[in-house]
C-alpha cells in the first residue's frame, strides 16, 4: 500500500463550547477522489479549513505525502501542494482570467513576464484537462461554471497536487456539473488527489472512490463508494432511517388561486429581471419553478411577496393585487391570504437577533391575537403561540427565549415554515425551503408542504435543487433569463431535459 497523500490523525477543534471536530482521522490515497459528506454543521468545512490553514487544530497531526506538516496559514498549504476551491469564489471581478490566475503568485515586480509564462501554462492545462477558458475575458463577463474553472486553474497554476472542492455544484446547472465531473476525472487520471465536500448523495455516488461521513463533529464512517448505497449514507449522516423521496398522492387541482399575466420586473439598476411572464397556480397543486440561481426567481418571489415593484397583472382568487405603491407591501399581501417562506431566512425570514417568540409574530405582528390593548403587544400570547408552534413543528431546542441565530439552519427554517403554514394561507410562496437544512428537517418540511397542498391550498415552490422540484411539484416551470422556458409534468420529463431548459436551450419538444 502506498503512502496516503493526506493523512489526518486525531484532529480536534472547539469553538468556545462547541466541539466542531472531535478526534478525526482520515487517509486519502493519491490519485483518488475522496468525498466528505455530512449535514450542515457536521464539521466538514471546519476540517477543511484546518487543512488549509485557516484554523489551528486544538489537537492532532497533519501528514502530507508521508511527512508530518505544520500548516499555520494558507501560504503553507499552497506550498504543501494543497489547492482549495471555495463555495463562494474568491475572484477579482474586473480582472481578466489571466490576471486572477497570477494574482498573489507573481514572479517579480514586473507583470509582463509573469503573464506571458502564465498564458503558456494555461494553454497547456486547458489541453490536458478540458479546462477551456479565454484567458483575456473579464471575470464579470463569464458564467459561474467558467469562474469555477478559473478557481481550479488558480490552484493548478500553483502546482497543487491535492485539490479540495467545497460544495462545487451548488451554483451549477446539471450540464455544468457534468462538465466539472469530467474535469475532476481527468485530474484524477493525471494522479491528482481530490477531496469533494458535498451534501448531495448523488454526486458522491457518481464520482467518488471513497467516502467519509461526518455527523456532529465526528467521522462516523469511511467506506468505499462501490460498497455503499444512498440510503445507507443518509442513515449514517442523520443517525436514523430517512425517506429520500416524498410520498404523495396525485394532485387534485381546483380553482385558480394565483394568476400571473405579463409580469415584468426591472431592478434598481434598470436591468429587466423578469420579462413578461405568465402562469397560474391552482388550489391543491404545487407549481415548481426550476432554474439556476439568478434567473429571475428571487425577483418573482419578491414581486409576489410585495417588496419589489412590478408591472403586469397578478390576480389572487380572481381579484387583482397592487404591484406598486403603498398597498404593495408584505402586510397587505398577508391580509390577502398570501404567506411567504422567503429564500433567505437569515436576511429576510427571521430577525436573527430577536428571540424565537418575537420572530413567531414577524410579519403578522399587527394581528389582534398579539395585542394586549390599543398600545401594547401581548408578549404572553406570543410566547404561548411560539411554544405551540415549536411543539407542532418539532423545533429543537423548544425554547422560545433563545435568539433565532442560536438555532441550527433546519430549526430556523422550521420556525419560518411554522409561522407561514399555520396562518392557513390560500397561497404559499416558498423559496429554497431546504437550503442549508439537514436531511431530517428536509423530510419534515416536505411532508408539511404536501400536507398543505392536500388541504387544497396553492403552493408556488422555487428551488435550485432539481431533485426537490422533481419530487415535490405537480407541475414544473423552468425559468431562464427572466423568462419561462416551458412547463413540464414531472412524470413526463427528465432531469436532463429540465437541465437543458435551465441552460436556455429549448428542445424539440418545446
Amino acid at each position: 500500500m502506498s503512502t496516503p497523500a493526506i493523512e489526518l490523525k486525531g484532529i480536534s477543534k472547539a469553538f468556545g463550547p462547541v466541539q466542531a471536530n472531535k478526534d478525526i482521522s482520515i487517509r486519502v490515497m493519491p490519485g483518488t477522489i475522496h468525498g466528505i459528506i455530512g449535514e450542515n454543521g457536521a464539521g466538514k468545512s471546519t476540517l477543511m479549513s484546518i487543512l488549509y490553514g485557516f484554523y489551528k487544530a486544538d489537537a492532532g497531526e497533519i501528514w502530507i505525502n508521508g511527512k508530518k506538516t505544520e500548516i499555520p496559514d494558507s501560504q503553507h498549504a499552497i506550498r504543501a501542494g494543497i489547492g482549495m476551491v471555495f463555495q463562494h469564489f474568491k475572484l477579482v471581478e474586473n480582472f481578466t482570467v489571466l490576471e486572477n490566475v497570477v494574482l498573489g503568485a507573481e514572479d517579480g515586480a514586473l507583470l509582463r513576464p509573469t503573464l506571458a509564462r502564465a498564458r503558456a501554462q494555461l494553454k497547456k492545462l486547458a489541453e490536458e484537462y478540458e479546462l477551456n477558458v479565454d484567458p483575456d475575458a473579464l471575470i464579470e463577463d463569464i458564467g459561474v461554471g467558467m469562474q469555477q474553472r478559473v478557481e481550479i486553474l488558480k490552484s493548478l497554476y500553483r502546482q497543487a497536487d491535492i485539490l479540495i472542492l467545497d460544495e462545487p455544484t451548488g451554483v451549477l446547472t446539471p450540464a455544468e456539473a457534468d462538465h466539472l465531473f469530467r474535469i475532476l476525472e481527468s485530474l484524477k487520471r493525471e494522479g491528482k488527489t481530490i477531496i469533494l465536500i458535498t451534501h448531495k448523495l448523488r454526486e458522491i455516488m457518481e464520482i467518488t472512490d471513497t467516502v467519509s461521513v461526518m455527523r456532529r463533529g465526528e467521522m462516523t464512517a469511511t467506506v468505499r463508494t462501490a460498497d455503499t448505497s444512498p440510503p445507507e449514507l443518509a442513515e449514517l449522516m442523520v443517525g436514523r432511517k430517512v425517506l429520500l423521496r416524498v410520498e404523495k398522492a396525485p394532485a387534485r387541482p381546483g380553482d385558480k388561486v394565483l394568476e400571473v399575466r405579463n409580469l415584468s420586473v426591472t431592478d434598481d439598476k434598470g436591468v429587466k429581471r423578469i420579462k413578461d411572464i405568465s402562469f397560474e397556480v391552482r388550489a391543491g397543486e404545487i407549481l415548481g419553478i426550476a432554474g439556476v440561481a439568478g434567473n429571475g426567481q428571487s425577483e418573482l418571489l419578491e414581486a409576489l411577496g410585495g417588496y419589489q415593484s412590478a408591472t403586469g397583472t397578478i390576480l389572487v382568487n380572481g381579484q387583482p393585487i397592487d404591484l406598486t405603491g403603498s398597498k404593495s407591501d408584505g402586510r397587505t399581501r398577508r391580509d390577502r391570504g398570501i404567506a411567504h417562506v422567503p429564500e433567505d431566512r437569515q436576511r429576510e425570514g427571521l430577525i436573527m437577533d430577536f428571540q424565537a417568540w418575537e420572530n413567531v409574530a414577524f410579519g403578522y405582528h399587527h394581528r389582534p391575537e398579539y395585542q394586549k390593548n390599543r398600545f401594547l403587544m401581548d408578549h404572553a400570547a406570543m410566547k404561548a403561540d411560539c411554544e405551540r408552534k415549536m411543539e407542532r413543528f418539532d423545533v429543537r431546542p423548544p425554547n422560545p427565549m433563545l435568539l433565532a441565530k442560536s438555532f441550527s439552519g433546519g430549526n430556523q427554517q422550521k420556525l419560518v415554515v411554522a409561522r407561514e403554514i399555520e396562518r392557513n394561507p390560500d397561497l404559499l410562496l416558498v423559496g429554497q425551503p431546504t437550503r442549508g437544512v439537514d436531511i431530517g428537517a428536509i423530510e419534515f418540511i416536505h411532508q408539511q408542504l404536501v400536507a398543505l397542498r392536500d388541504q387544497g391550498k396553492a403552493i408556488l415552490l422555487v428551488s435550485v435543487e432539481l431533485d426537490e422540484i422533481l419530487s415535490l411539484s405537480d407541475r414544473i416551470a423552468v425559468m431562464f433569463d427572466g423568462q419561462i422556458m416551458g412547463e413540464r409534468m414531472p412524470a413526463e420529463t427528465t432531469a436532463k431535459e429540465l437541465g437543458l431548459l435551465m441552460a436556455g436551450i429549448r428542445g424539440e419538444a418545446a
Binding site: G16, P17, V18, G305, G306, Y307, S326, D329, G330, R331, T332, R333, R334, H340, P342, D344, R347, E348, G349, L350, I351, M352, D353, F354, E358, F362, G363, H365, H366, Q371, F375, L376, M377, H379, S406
Partner: protein, 370 residues
C-alpha cells in the same frame, strides 16, 4: 449558549472600562504635576459630597438623560443621530416662545405646554434630515451634524436680531414670567420634609426625564412601533419582507429622537436659565451619544450613564475651580471615559469572554471527572 452571564455584560464590563479610564486619567494628572488622589477626592466631594453638589450633578444628568434617550432610540432603528445638539437648541426656542408669549396660570400647565413645544421643535429639526435619509439616501450622520451648525447660526440670528429685548446688551431673550418658573428639587423635596440645597439648579424636569425613560422603555419593548423599529434596525431586508415601511420607521424614530433631544430644553432653558441664551446646550447633545453608547441604548443604562456623566461634568467643574488643573483636563477625562466605555468596549469584552469560557470549561471538566 451564552458566552458570559448577563451581570458581567451589564455591570462588570462598564466598571472595568471605567476603572481603566480612571487609571489613565490619573496618570495624565500625575504627568502635569498634580496629585491624582486629591483630584479624585475633590471630584467626588464636588459632585456627590453634598446636596448642593448633587443638585448640580442631577441637573446635568437630566440634560444627558434626554439627549441620551434621543440617541438611543435612533440607534434602535440603526440611525446615528448626531444632531441632538441642534435639536435641543431648537427645543429651547420652542420653550422660549411658549413661555414668553402665552400667559400661563400655573407652572404645571406651563410645563406641559413647554414640553410639547420643545418636543415639537426638536422633532421638526430632525424631520428634514430624516426625510432626506429615507427618501434620498443622504447619510443621516452628515445631515444631522450640518443641521447643528444651521441651528446655531439660526438661534444666533434670532437672539441678536429678533428675540433680544430692546436695549439689552447680551443676546438672550427676556426673563420668562414667574408663573413659568419650575419648582426646584429644593421645593419638591421640601414638601416631603427633606432638606435640599436651595441654590442648586436641579428641578422638576428630572422627574419628566425619568418618565421619559419609562416611556422609551415601553415604546421600544412593548409596542408594535417599537417592535418594528427594532426589527428594522436589526435587518432592513427582513423588515421589507414583513411589510414594514423603511420610510415610516426612519421618519418616526428620528422624529421621536429629535423630540426627546428638544425636551432637554425644559431643564436647561425653562428650569435653570429661565430665559434662552446663546449656546444654551453646552455640548449636552454630543454627550448624549456617549451616554447612549455606554448605556447600551437601554433606558436604565442611559439613566445610569447620564448620572455618571453628570458626576464627571460637575466634578470636573469643581476641579477647575479649586485646583490648577485646567478646565480642558476635564474634557480629556470625559474623552477617556467615552473612549473606554464606547469605542474600546471589545478590548475589555474579549478577554473577559475568554476568561468566563475558561472558567466554565474548567467547571464542566471537574464535574465530568467526578
Amino acid at each position: 449558549m451564552q458566552k458570559m452571564p448577563a451581570w458581567a455584560d451589564v455591570v462588570l464590563i462598564p466598571l472595568i472600562s471605567l476603572l481603566l479610564a480612571a487609571i489613565l486619567s490619573g496618570l495624565v494628572i500625575l504627568a502635569i504635576g498634580e496629585n491624582p488622589w486629591e483630584a479624585l477626592k475633590l471630584m467626588i466631594s464636588g459632585s456627590v459630597g453634598s446636596s448642593y453638589a448633587w443638585g448640580y450633578t442631577l441637573y446635568y444628568a437630566t440634560n444627558f438623560i434626554f439627549t441620551g434617550l434621543a440617541v438611543a432610540i435612533a440607534f434602535h432603528s440603526r440611525m446615528f443621530n448626531i444632531g441632538g445638539e441642534g435639536q435641543a437648541m431648537l427645543g429651547g426656542l420652542g420653550v422660549a416662545y411658549v413661555c414668553l408669549f402665552i400667559p400661563w396660570p400655573h407652572w404645571s400647565l406651563a410645563l406641559i405646554g413647554a414640553t410639547a413645544a420643545s418636543a415639537l421643535f426638536g422633532a421638526a429639526w430632525a424631520a428634514l434630515p430624516a426625510y432626506l435619509q429615507a427618501r434620498r439616501g443622504s447619510h443621516i450622520v452628515i445631515t444631522t451634524i450640518m443641521f447643528n451648525f444651521i441651528a446655531a447660526a439660526f438661534l444666533n440670528y434670532l437672539l441678536v436680531n429678533v428675540l433680544k429685548p430692546m436695549g439689552a446688551m447680551d443676546p438672550a431673550t427676556a426673563k420668562f414670567p414667574a408663573p413659568t418658573h419650575l419648582p426646584s428639587l429644593h421645593d419638591i423635596l421640601g414638601a416631603f420634609g427633606i432638606p435640599f440645597s436651595k441654590a442648586a439648579p436641579a428641578n422638576v424636569a428630572l422627574l419628566v426625564a425619568i418618565l421619559a425613560c419609562v416611556g422609551v422603555w415601553l415604546l421600544v419593548w412593548r409596542t408594535r412601533l417599537g417592535y418594528e423599529i427594532r426589527a428594522f434596525g436589526h435587518s432592513e431586508s427582513a423588515a421589507k419582507y414583513a411589510g414594514i415601511s423603511p420610510t415610516r420607521i426612519i421618519m418616526l424614530s428620528m422624529l421621536i429622537s429629535g423630540g426627546l433631544a428638544g425636551m432637554m430644553a425644559i431643564n436647561n432653558v425653562m428650569g435653570e436659565a429661565e430665559r434662552l441664551v446663546l449656546n444654551s446646550t453646552e455640548g449636552a447633545g454630543f454627550i448624549g451619544i456617549a451616554v447612549a453608547l455606554m448605556g447600551r441604548s437601554h433606558p436604565l443604562g442611559v439613566f445610569l450613564a447620564a448620572i455618571l456623566f453628570g458626576i464627571l461634568y460637575q466634578g470636573g467643574a469643581e476641579l477647575a475651580l479649586w485646583t490648577n488643573i485646567p478646565r480642558e483636563m476635564i474634557v480629556v477625562i470625559q474623552a477617556l471615559v467615552i473612549l473606554f466605555t464606547g469605542a474600546l468596549d471589545n478590548m475589555v469584552r474579549m478577554p473577559l469572554e475568554k476568561l468566563f469560557l475558561a472558567i466554565r470549561r474548567g467547571q464542566s471538566a471537574t464535574t465530568a471527572g467526578e
